[in-house]
């Protein structure tokens, strides 16, 4: 699903990632961990093609991101589901509309968008909050809504950047169980987190970033 070959990302004189190489197979559940500033978010931004690597090759869902034309990025992103620490929900739209809007924006009919949104909100357990606005529901519920939104296009790969960063441990575990269920249905999941307590709660492999370098697997055991 992901093939990363000697990827380096620099911002002027500052190097955020240095010579990163790894592979993630289809259906894997992988934690990407490391301290704040280690480069986790930068790596995820490269994976969903918000930025380009300074050098190296990055192949995600069969597409070489370094050579992909900008106009093909939207179609590529429909294969991905993205979940963020700050949820990125639209505050003046209802929970339901936050999810349904994605369907409309990627070309589903109105009816299909509504149907999918209903099903996904039920799946993540916030269907009772559908007509409320994001600020009216809890952080855990907001994150569930953002997961429902990420699943709207039935992605092959789910990328989550500190998805439990704003949640208490109980809500964090609930979110991780949802990710685990999504993974068991066949979706590859990559969760970036600095929370060591989360790792191992649902199994899966762990990759460690330290100061922009990937720690070799043997050392990370």
């Amino acid at each position: 699903m992901i093939r990363c070959f000697h990827v380096t990302k620099s911002y002027g004189a500052i190097t955020a990632l240095t010579d990163i190489s790894f592979e993630i197979d289809e259906g894997e559940f992988v934690f990407l961990t490391g301290q704040s500033g280690a480069g986790k978010t930068t790596l995820l931004r490269l994976l969903y093609r918000a930025e380009l690597p300074t050098s190296g090759q990055l192949i995600v869902a069969g597409r070489n991101l370094a050579t992909m034309p900008r106009r093909q990025v939207p179609r590529f992103r429909r294969r991905l589901g993205l979940v963020f620490q700050d949820f990125k929900l639209i505050e003046d739209r209802t929970v339901f509309d936050n999810v349904a809007l994605v369907g409309l924006a990627v070309g589903f009919s109105f009816t299909e968008s509504q149907r999918r949104a209903s099903e996904l909100l039920r799946l993540v357990g916030v269907d009772g909050r559908a007509q409320l606005f994001p600020p009216q529901v809890s952080g855990g519920e907001q994150q569930r809504v953002s997961i429902a939104r990420a699943l709207m296009t039935a992605p092959q790969l789910l990328l989550a950047d500190e998805p439990t960063g704003n949640l208490d441990p109980k809500r964090a575990n609930e979110i991780m169980r949802i990710f685990h269920a999504i993974n068991r249905s066949g979706t590859t999941v990559l969760v970036a987190t600095h929370d060591a307590d989360l790792i191992g709660t649902v199994g899966g492999r762990t990759m460690i970033l330290e100061a922009g370098r990937l720690v070799p697997p043997l050392m990370s055991q």
Binding site: R71, P74, R77, K88, R93, A105, V106, T153
Partner: protein
Amino acid sequence: MRADRYLKLCFGEALNGLVGRRRAAASAVMLIALSLVVLGGFLLVSQNLNGLLHRWRERGHVQVFLEPGFTIPQQQAVADAIRESSEIDSFRFMSADEAATQFRNDFQELGDLLTFLEENPLPASFVITVRERSRNEAALLALAEIWETMPGVDAAQYDLEVIRRLELGVNGLRFVGMVLGGAVLIAAIITTANVIRVLVVARRQEIIVLRLVGATESVVRGRFLAEGATQGFLGSVLALLILYAICRIGVSFVTAGGSPLLPLVELQFFNALLFAQLIGLGVTAGLIGALVAFGGADSLE
């Protein structure tokens, strides 16, 4: 994405945006309407004046004025010369008294003016209608030159001279209208851009989310362009309604005023082409405003 879904999404979102920010949107619509009223108003006036001049030109009138002390033989000689010309369709003699009567009819509010003068200053004349084939400047000039040299004739005037001067005036009027309308239109575009820029800032998070979930740029920008186009459309429709009202008032004013040119006046509203052009101009102004406004959101992600 299917075109119907795309348009439904963009215009649905645009209408929500317009309703949600009625006051700001109304100011943009009003300014677009104002600019098109200025531009369209000048076009309407010049179009009607052109029509009037065209019909005036088609009359093919030449007026040969006689000197104050002309004699009957001189009058007869001029009448004979006119009658013998093969370019003449019809003619009639208008005495000084008839000219005064016509003046009183044409200018009812100035009619008393003649009674205060010691003698009637309006000369007798021959009013000549030339044949259609000779209703051009060269032919009329040739005829006027022949008659002007005859004894007892003071001057020969044909309408084309006046029409030509008026045409210059109409063209000038149209130019002024375009400059003024263009200036107001630029202001309207800037206002539309500002209105939509506020919307873009308010919708920053939505733009980011849509890009992240894989919406194409046409979808991300579509609602803003649709909003600009809708504002432009509403502005141009409003402008056309105002111009139509002005046109109707103009018709009743001209009809009630008893203008000397009344037989030539046929006030008309825009034809289908100008109608469509004005709507198109409004929509284009709105679209340009939206494009300008969205420029700053290109890199949001």
